[in-house]
């Protein structure tokens, strides 16, 4: 009976929680911290035997790529991190961050004992009045609060984390608790909002993985893929370098000459937020001016041949309601699945039931005609001739029709990569821009084939993306499917989640809504008041938007629990701080998240891996997972946690007995054996660190083997738009739904308008030496960036600087049109668009205990206002387009 009830509950929770899996994105806001060195020396290091000299294989957690590392431990002291040569992701290579990991472990300002707040006042810069308390006291206090709220209404708990190593366990815990309010705390504000939905629809996966080493032409738009940044950092970097040295042409479109642009054959500066206009013009040149597109691919693998009526909807078969195509052999319409792809008409207009219906591809072609390079040039500041040349070069490089032999199979070879990332996503028009950019790859057939952009796990261990409604591509089994994507269309209804997820059916997360709902519950007619916040591995004060606003909604929580290694800005709002183990002190199963990397290590193989303790944990600190399991036990819902482990991860004999209690290491043993096999449990992984399975050709280059078609024409968008409008009208909140269009369109954002006073747009860019907001306090990395002539300063174009009388190293004020002011030092350079100032992300912290990061660099996020009208209505990304005036102090 109990079991049944639990199962029902799990089913219910799983359903409402599909989405939580989407939480992943690039940023990992995980501030690690620690206690005093003295304590550490006493408790951590000296208790180890003398004469010890060992290497421990584990997983790096300085960013979310989870490279394999080998930690050298001498007498209990970790003294060196080196790459694990066998790990398929990084193959022995480690970036600057990974190398510097030890300095976080031994940060003298780490928290090592639970802290209790004594000052009732909360706010930025307010001293919390910490007092140290015992673990028992802290845990029982937290458990009591958790139990009370859970009994009342579990939805009142908000769980905020982007500790990518442990996030899957955090989700399980949150779901078992019964709250749908899981939130990565920042990563989703403008990170993958307009990346992942598009990957779902294009590849059937959460993320993509460009095949640079086989590509002949790569166009990176607003991203630095392959430069030790973002996803697939290490194998991407190797693949990119190999590609460039094999003669691949690299073109980077970006307002800033980033490291990627510096290594490109061509840097094309662009006005920020106008990439959509550029992509649409490229599409126009390819489709209409040059007529370069992969006819076979479009017929077989897209909905290009589907007929659309003048009202935009598909022409459907009367009997089956299936979309119709024009069969050129029979000269008649047929349901899409009744006709041979080869015989489908790709272009043209056909009369169906007295209506002139065009093929979806023809709709696209005609639609983009308006987007001429001359038109785009006005918007983007890129010369029309450059747009034409780039389009022509890509078209030629795509070598349409070419094939290549791989393991005896003849596969399509489209050596063109068109990649974009967070840069595009961070705008109000991000969704449409993403659609337009992806469309370039789609029309060239450069999707999931050799030399092109690959989905990271369309066909993977035990799952495969497949054919959904109307013949369209849907994600396969495993995590990718469980997370759900923008297709098949989701139900639109009033939401009782803080992120109003049900109102954004095309987004894969909508956490940006949470602050807005929290700030004005009445407006959104929201039914309950959140009470408890658990913060771990996330620091929204630094990594989201306007900190003053964040502080306001943080204060609304009655009880905040921070499970952190260092007292970062957000932890300074906590009521209870629970010290967390550093990543070199903890166990975590397959930290290389299934949902994001999906065990993917490039076209070569899949792998599973274990993070283990490289050094003994200091002073009784435990990993966040262990702390949470303990809290679940104390608050009385550990069985629900076990049930979820069983439902989502564990198989057969390895399922947990809900009546028994397991240590975290025992659970890992079950997880490992379920993921691989009985031979490969905790002991195997402790010794070998990883287990590799070679990819088959189908898994490596999945597109030719997949059935589902890629959307070229998003027929269902307009219906969804209608439904969304209805709900917003019910709420009586004006909301723009005009973006629900079936084809990518140009939607200008703030940067495209001229403003004499606020004449410069501000953008941020990434540096390879820092991860998000959680590595700046590493003294060694900080010293490195401090010596970089531009990283901590504000890039301003030389000509612009001259006009404003700004000299290199001058102190300048950056005043936003919304009244925020920041101060920084100017770095006068040629490497930035004249209308732009650029600030490297990851700096400008202020927390007292962040000895190194405090007060250094510029906190770019502080300039970003967070209001409903600045949110992309499709992707929910916050628009980062902010106009500023810059002047000397």
């Amino acid at each position: 009976m109990v079991r049944e009830r639990l199962q029902q509950r799990v089913a219910l929770l799983s359903k409402s929680f599909i989405i939580i899996w989407l939480i992943i994105s690039f940023k990992r806001i995980d501030l690690r911290v620690m206690t005093t060195l003295r304590q550490y020396m006493q408790l951590g290091i000296t208790r180890e035997p003398q004469g010890e000299d060992v290497w421990v294989k584990t997983i790096c957690n300085m960013c979310y790529n989870c490279c394999g590392i080998n930690v050298h431990r001498v007498n209990g002291l970790a003294v060196k991190i080196e790459g694990d040569y066998g790990n398929p992701h990084n193959q022995g290579k480690v970036c600057a961050k990974g190398n510097a990991g030890l300095f976080g472990l031994y940060d003298p300002n780490r928290v090592l004992r639970p802290l209790k707040r004594t000052n009732k006042m909360k706010g930025i810069g307010v001293d919390p009045g910490w007092v140290e308390i015992g673990w028992e006291e802290a845990l029982s206090m937290v458990a009591r609060e958790l139990a009370i709220v859970r009994k009342d209404d579990p939805r009142k708990l908000v769980f905020m984390t982007f500790d990518t190593n442990s996030i899957e366990r955090h989700i399980i815990w949150c779901v078992a608790y019964g709250s749908p309010n899981f939130n990565p705390g920042a990563a989703q504000y403008y990170c993958g909002n307009a990346v992942h939905p598009h990957s779902y629809m294009t590849f059937g996966t959460f993320y993509d993985d460009p095949d640079f080493s086989r590509a002949k032409y790569s166009l990176l738009i607003g991203c630095q893929y392959g430069f030790v940044l973002g996803t697939n950092a290490m194998h991407g970097a190797r693949s990119m370098a190999d590609g460039r040295c094999n003669g691949m042409k690299l073109v980077v479109v970006d307002p800033v000459c980033t490291n990627a642009a510096a290594k490109a054959d061509e840097w094309i500066p662009i006005r920020p937020g106008t990439d959509g206009a550029f992509a649409l013009a490229v599409l126009n040149v390819l489709l209409n001016e040059k007529q370069i597109f992969d006819v076979e691919f479009l017929k077989r693998f897209t909905n290009g041949p589907y007929l659309a009526k003048p009202d935009g909807h598909y022409a459907r078969d009367k009997a089956t309601t299936k979309p119709l195509v024009w069969d050129v052999i029979r000269s008649e319409v047929r349901p899409y699945d009744a006709a041979d792809s080869e015989n489908m008409a790709l272009e043209g207009s056909y009369r169906v039931d007295g209506l002139d219906c065009k093929t979806a591809f023809q709709m696209l072609k005609d639609h983009v005609k308006q987007y001429t390079p001359e038109w785009a040039s006005e918007i983007t500041t890129i010369e029309p001739s450059t747009i034409r040349r780039i389009a022509t070069e890509i078209g030629a490089a795509a070598s349409i029709g070419a094939t290549v032999q791989i393991e005896g199979q003849s596969l399509p070879y489209r050596p063109v990569v068109v990649a974009y990332d967070r840069g595009i996503s961070a705008h109000k028009n991000g969704y449409h821009t993403g659609l337009a950019i992806r469309m370039i790859s789609i029309i060239l057939g450069a999707v999931g084939v050799v030399g092109s952009t690959l989905g990271s796990n369309a066909i993977g261990p035990g799952y495969s993306a497949g054919e959904g409604p109307e013949g369209m591509l849907v994600p396969g089994g495993g995590w990718t499917a469980r997370m759900g994507g923008p297709y098949p269309p989701r139900k639109v209804e009033r939401s009782e989640r803080l992120d109003l997820f049900e109102l954004f059916p095309l987004a894969i997360y909508s956490f940006t809504m949470m602050p807005l709902v929290m700030m004005d519950k009445e407006k959104f007619q929201f039914p309950y008041e959140p009470e408890i916040l658990i913060q771990t591995g996330a620091n929204p004060l630094m990594s989201t938007t306007d900190p003053d606003q964040v502080a306001e909604w943080l204060k609304k929580f009655r009880f905040q629990i921070s499970i952190v290694t260092s007292l970062n800005e957000t932890a300074e709002f906590a009521d209870i701080v629970l010290p967390e183990a550093h990543y070199l002190e903890r166990y975590e199963w397959n930290p290389n998240m299934q949902m994001m990397m999906s065990e993917n290590a490039g076209p070569g193989c899949w792998y599973w891996t274990l993070a283990q303790q490289a050094v003994a944990p200091s002073a009784g600190v435990r990993s966040s997972t262990e702390i949470l399991l303990d809290l679940a036990e104390r608050a009385g819902f550990i069985e629900d946690v076990y049930v979820l482990f069983n439902a989502w991860y564990l198989k057969g004999d390895y399922k947990l007995d809900v009546k028994k209690r397991y240590t975290w290491e025992e659970i890992i043993d079950h997880l490992a054996k379920s993921a691989v096999d009985g031979e490969h449990g905790l002991e195997y992984f402790k010794k070998h660190s990883y287990y590799i399975r070679k990819k088959t050709v189908e898994e490596a280059y999945p597109r030719p083997f997949l059935k589902g078609r890629i959307h070229l024409y998003y027929e269902y968008f307009s219906d969804l738009g209608e439904q969304v409008r209805k709900v917003w009208n019910e709420l009586d909140i004006p909301f723009d739904t005009s973006d629900y269009l079936p084809l990518p369109a140009w939607k200008p954002c703030r940067s495209a308008t001229v403003d004499d006073k606020y004449d410069l747009s501000v953008v941020s860019y990434k540096v390879p030496t820092q991860t998000n907001m959680h590595t700046a306090n590493n003294p060694s990395l900080f010293d490195l960036d401090g010596r970089n002539p531009s990283t901590l300063r504000v890039l301003i174009n030389r000509e612009t600087a001259m006009k404003k009388g700004v000299n290199d190293d001058d102190l300048i004020i950056i005043e936003s049109e919304f009244g925020k002011k920041l101060t920084g030092r100017a770095s006068v350079t040629e490497r930035v668009h004249p209308e732009v100032i650029a600030i490297a992300g990851g700096f400008g912290q202020w927390a007292k205990k962040l000895e190194w990061a405090r007060g250094r660099g510029v906190h770019w996020n502080a300039l970003i206002p967070h209001t409903l009208d600045r949110i992309d209505p499709l992707s929910t990304a916050v628009d980062t387009c902010v106009r500023t005036a810059v002047y000397k102090e």
Binding site: D783, G786, R787, P789, R856
Partner: protein
């Protein structure tokens, strides 16, 4: 950024380009200056029979010379990262200019002291008068030998500082014989400067004042020519040395170099000396003293500014 003066300039700001050296600083300028003056003064005193009064029975010039070398050496030693290891700095005589210089420092000090010992007068008695090379007959062989050793090593002491800089191929502005020549010329000019300062105090320093003035003009002219040709050559040789010149002429060092070294250190004293040389009136001790001070200051500032203007060329050019 935790910026630190001792951080290698190449990593202070990670940018490929011209890097101004920070290894040698004011301590080294003092060292170079004192060594130059000390060595040259010993030679000048013995060539011109310069007499700067008598202290403890010894010629004031000898005392100043010895003191300058001792203090210069002490400044150098105190600047070492490991001062107690200064004796090890004598090891690399084969290639290191500093080793050669340091050995000559010691040889000079030893030889000069031994040479002067018999003249030492303490409380009216001369405890070392018995030494064979002392006394009324100073032309003994030992005396001559000691004088030669002290004189030669004094010359090296005066000149090696210049060679320490010119030896450095990494800094094009220094990598020329013009540097040691300049240093040498300034050193001898400085000894005359000391003479000019001593004049109003002592009234007579054993040398014809007109000769002193004439030599001063000549030496200062030599300084001007050497410095001018160094600067001129460097303007046309390569970007790094051009940057050095720019630094001296227009940049951060222009006030020191143009104002301090060229105008105040050379042109003004040259004019004053010329006036004095051609005037037939009484000797203007005060003016000569001012010349002396200016010459000395110019000599110091020259070393300082040449050193500060050392710029490394970039490792790679693009």
């Amino acid at each position: 950024m935790a910026s630190h003066p001792s951080v290698n300039v190449f990593v202070q700001r990670l940018e490929v380009g011209l890097k101004t050296q920070t290894v040698w600083g004011i301590n080294h300028a003092v060292w170079f200056f004192l060594m130059g003056v000390g060595g040259a003064l010993f030679i000048t005193r013995h060539l011109l029979r310069l007499n700067l009064g008598s202290i403890l029975g010894l010629n004031g010039a000898d005392i100043i010379s010895l003191l300058a070398v001792v203090v210069g050496g002490a400044v150098l030693i105190s600047d070492l990262g490991r001062p107690t290891r200064f004796m090890k700095a004598l090891r690399n005589v084969r290639t290191s200019r500093i080793s050669i210089g340091a050995i000559c420092d010691f040889v000079f000090l030893a030889a000069a002291m031994v040479l002067l010992m018999p003249d030492l007068e303490i409380g009216g008695s001369r405890p070392f008068a018995f030494l064979p090379w002392g006394g009324p007959n100073p032309s003994s062989l030992v005396n001559q030998f000691l004088l030669a050793v002290a004189g030669i090593s004094a010359f090296v002491v005066a000149v090696y500082a210049g060679f320490v800089l010119s030896f450095s191929a990494s800094i094009p502005f220094w990598h020329t014989e013009a540097v040691p020549l300049q240093f040498l010329a300034y050193s001898f000019a400085s000894t005359l400067g000391i003479g000019f300062i001593a004049l109003p105090i002592l009234g007579n320093i054993g040398v014809n004042i007109k000769l002193l003035e004439f030599m001063g003009i000549l030496l200062l002219a030599a300084c001007l020519v050497l410095t001018g040709s160094h600067i001129f050559n460097m303007t046309w040789s390569n970007p790094a040395s051009r940057a050095s010149v720019r630094m001296l002429i227009k940049g951060s060092l222009s006030r020191t170099f143009i104002g301090g070294v060229i105008v105040a250190g050379i042109i003004v004293p040259m004019l004053l000396l010329s006036l004095a040389y051609y005037s037939t009136g009484p000797v203007e001790y005060f003016t000569l003293a001012i010349c002396g001070v200016l010459i000395l200051a110019g000599g110091f500032l020259l070393r300082h500014s040449i050193m500060k203007a050392g710029i490394y060329a970039p490792a790679l050019s693009f």
